[in-house]
């Protein structure tokens, strides 16, 4: 199964969620600042990368974990993937879209804009990391929920929505 974590820029919250899912970030505690910013692809994606679905790795159950930044257009992501799946005969149960954006706080937003859009990495990255640490428990909760809907070795979930709001 393909699990696709998506958020606005695909640089902070979705990356963190994917790394928690892959076991690269701790589930029993909140990581430290250094640990967080040194994670794979954190604060990496540029504006030009939006829409690009990037493979982060395989989890223990063989599920492929991806991230994507879809700007402020979650509907576009759902429509496009749904229509393409239909047109190309892709099983809609074979992928799961997970919206991480409900866990994006104002600090992460500000950090993301400064770092990714304005190129002020020195200010933006620590700010985004700080915001991510604040939201870490929420993101972790979302990942745990996602893990429950993608049990090892089985394909459940479908191209639906998993979000903290539900």
């Amino acid at each position: 199964m393909k699990v696709i974590y998506h958020c606005y820029g695909g640089a902070h919250s979705s990356v963190t969620a994917a790394n928690i899912h892959l076991g690269l970030l701790p589930r029993e505690r909140t990581p430290g600042y250094r640990e967080l910013i040194s994670q794979k692809l954190f604060d990496h994606n540029q504006v030009k990368d939006s829409g690009r679905i990037i493979l982060m790795g395989l989890d223990g159950g063989g599920n492929e974990i991806y991230i994507v930044g879809r700007r402020s257009r979650p509907g576009l992501l759902y429509n496009t993937t749904g229509c393409l799946a239909e047109a190309f005969g892709i099983n809609k149960e074979s992928y799961l879209l997970v919206d991480v954006s409900p866990h994006v706080n104002i600090t992460m937003r500000a950090g993301g804009i400064l770092s990714r859009r304005l190129g002020l990495v020195a200010i933006g990255r620590p700010l985004a990391a700080w915001g991510t640490l604040i939201s870490y428990r929420g993101i972790l909760h979302l990942v745990e929920k996602t893990l429950k809907s993608t049990p090892t070795g089985s394909c459940t979930g479908g191209g639906g929505l998993v979000s903290a709001a539900s």
Partner: protein, 153 residues
């Protein structure tokens, strides 16, 4: 079956016009009447942003699809390519064409004017004059990026 997917980030769904040119429904040279009859008069420009339009098939069996998402043409192109890639769809079977026209204030204005009967004629004129300007670019995009051999005759 080969599929050609046209993506545009314009508020006006010009990817559908490009797709129609590709399919031969619209001529290579701009003709106000034809364009209006096949596209605008049927109000095809309504409610077709953020969704995928399957325009049909060409005589040689190529399926033509059009995506329009305001201000998100590049996002759409990336999303389409990578989604098909991760699902192991053979690259030879599809071709994503990003229409290089991203924003047109005049087209948006014309589209808005079409909403009310009293401003509709003005809206039509604005859209037609705007499309006339960008039409050669659309034809070029179809010819070059669509990797399509169109006879100029």
């Amino acid at each position: 079956m080969k599929t050609v997917i046209f993506c545009s980030g314009c508020h006006f769904p010009i990817s559908i016009i490009a797709g129609s040119i590709y399919m031969g429904k619209l001529p290579l040279n701009f003709q106000k009447g034809t364009l209006w009859d096949t596209f605008c008069s049927k109000e095809l420009y309504k409610n077709i942003v953020d969704v995928v339009c399957c325009l049909g098939e060409t005589p040689d069996g190529t399926r033509v699809m059009a995506f329009s998402a305001p201000s998100s043409g590049h996002l759409l192109g990336n999303l389409t390519s990578t989604f098909l890639e991760i699902n192991c769809i053979i690259k030879k079977t599809y071709h994503v064409v990003e229409i290089p026209i991203h924003k047109s204030t005049l087209l948006s204005l014309g589209q808005m004017l079409l909403k009310w009967p009293i401003t509709r004629p003005a809206g039509r004129r604005v859209i037609e004059s705007c499309l006339e300007k960008i039409y050669p670019q659309l034809v070029q995009a179809v010819k070059l990026d669509g990797n399509f051999q169109i006879s100029d005759n």
